[in-house]
Symmetry: C2
């Protein structure tokens, strides 16, 4: 795999159309992360994926509706249909993500590069907006920030049926008030991609200790310098939340993307702004 992946530098990937990018995923020629610069198919919308059996679909959709900051719904497929027909009808959610995660009874049991063998006629797929999208809007607006990645918080999500668990957030530090205000304004234009931040200030307030250091949630987290005095730290709802919920709620069967290995839709970020 390593050799094939070298064929596609991140620079080359970033200039691809979603259609071309998808074709290399379907040939299993790439399975890398989509969440760091240069982004594959730069300018196109990235989404989280969550798949549950039909029996759980109402409760999960209700969970998303009750928790729109971590779980903004872009598309919900009909049972058994792997094509997100409103967001991107030519996509196949069984093959068109670089990596998946399979949860059984709240445990991660597999991280395959496709989910053909797991597919069932009763599976309902949810595409939920991803912050990789509004981050591209921040870059386009020349708003710099320091990136800290995703952290679980002590904030419980609003439960729905059998779905409950704690909010996961993505954390960024801004260098001054002007940039922080711009980040609130710009992310608010992208309500389908988590919208505005849910917390401004010390992340310890919401249960995030040791910002920028490896922890049990992410033992491989790269070390990042702590925020400096005067910087403004803001936390946004994160699409990893359904994975936390799958684990905390011990949902019998659920498939998601693997963290940072997102679906890329054939829709420009600005097509979906202020919607």
């Amino acid at each position: 795999m390593a050799k094939v992946m070298e064929k596609y530098s991140k620079e080359r990937l970033s200039k691809m159309s979603p259609k071309e990018y998808r074709s290399i995923l379907r040939r299993s020629e790439w399975s890398g992360v989509t969440s760091t610069e240069p982004w594959p198919c730069a300018g196109y919308a990235q989404t989280n994926l969550a798949i549950v059996p039909e029996e759980y679909a109402f409760e999960f959709l209700l969970f998303c509706n009750r928790n729109p900051r971590p779980c903004p719904v872009l598309d919900v497929t009909d049972p058994g249909d792997p094509h997100p027909k409103f967001l991107d009808p030519e996509a196949d959610l069984r093959t068109d993500l670089p990596k998946y995660r399979v949860f059984k009874d709240g445990e991660i049991t597999d991280e395959p590069t496709d989910i053909i063998k797991y597919w069932r006629d009763d599976l309902v797929s949810f595409l939920l907006g991803c912050s990789c999208t509004f981050v591209q809007a921040l870059k386009a607006a020349n708003v710099p920030f320091r990136r800290y990645g995703a952290y679980p918080t002590k904030i419980p999500c609003t439960p729905a049926g059998r779905f409950h668990g704690h909010l996961v957030v993505s954390v960024r530090a801004f260098y001054n008030s002007h940039d922080a205000v711009r980040a609130v304004q710009i992310s608010s234009r992208h309500l389908l991609f988590h919208g505005p931040p849910i917390h401004i200030g010390d992340p310890a307030d919401i249960g995030i200790e040791n910002l920028g250091k490896p922890d049990s949630f992410n033992p491989n987290r790269p070390v990042v310098e702590p925020p400096k005095t005067g910087e403004i730290v803001m936390c946004w709802g994160c699409g990893v939340t359904p994975q936390m919920v799958a684990m905390e709620s011990k949902i019998p069967f659920m498939i998601t993307h693997r963290v940072a290995h997102m679906f890329i839709a054939d829709r420009l970020i600005e097509e979906l702004a202020i919607l």
Copy 2:
């Protein structure tokens, strides 16, 4: 009833808090329309109501998600729970609207002032934003317009399961471009109350003939003068759409508000703006 209703002039109602207003509804002392000026509890958010059995709840929620302009979801109750615990936990959806509509197999069978006798343990209630809310924002911004009311269109909604039917819109004419642009901007701030218009231009394009005259959809529609040259007519998704859908889809049992007799939540309009 008429005598009691006189006790509460529209002017007096407009100054009431939602709590006080609710108390007169619970005593069956008022059952008028909420959709015209002066609005009861002016400044507070008005919503549409749709109630379906749990068996239909996933498909209806999906219908709303796929048709967010007519059906923006503010709250969904747990089965059997008449209290919208996220939007307004002290409200009781069985009594706190001035008038309801009961649909059986797509026919209107009753228009009661409460739904106590229809209540069941498997009913799930949906509160959907109403344009009476952004209209108050237009007035607050001094944007005048001519009001035409609600019309069915030839635009099919995106179906979900057993729910299908045509989009209903509310129609307004603006006197110049500046006002029309302001109306797009201001309604876009209220995404939970139908957001921006879905059509700009001749309403005949979307199947609306005889604008401003009584028709089979509304035989009692007041006559309103037609738009003049240079005026801009705009149409917004309307919360009557679920009633059209109940009829077209022949849903076995569904309860809604009676048209123009909305629920008023104990939440200020601006509390829910840009959310």
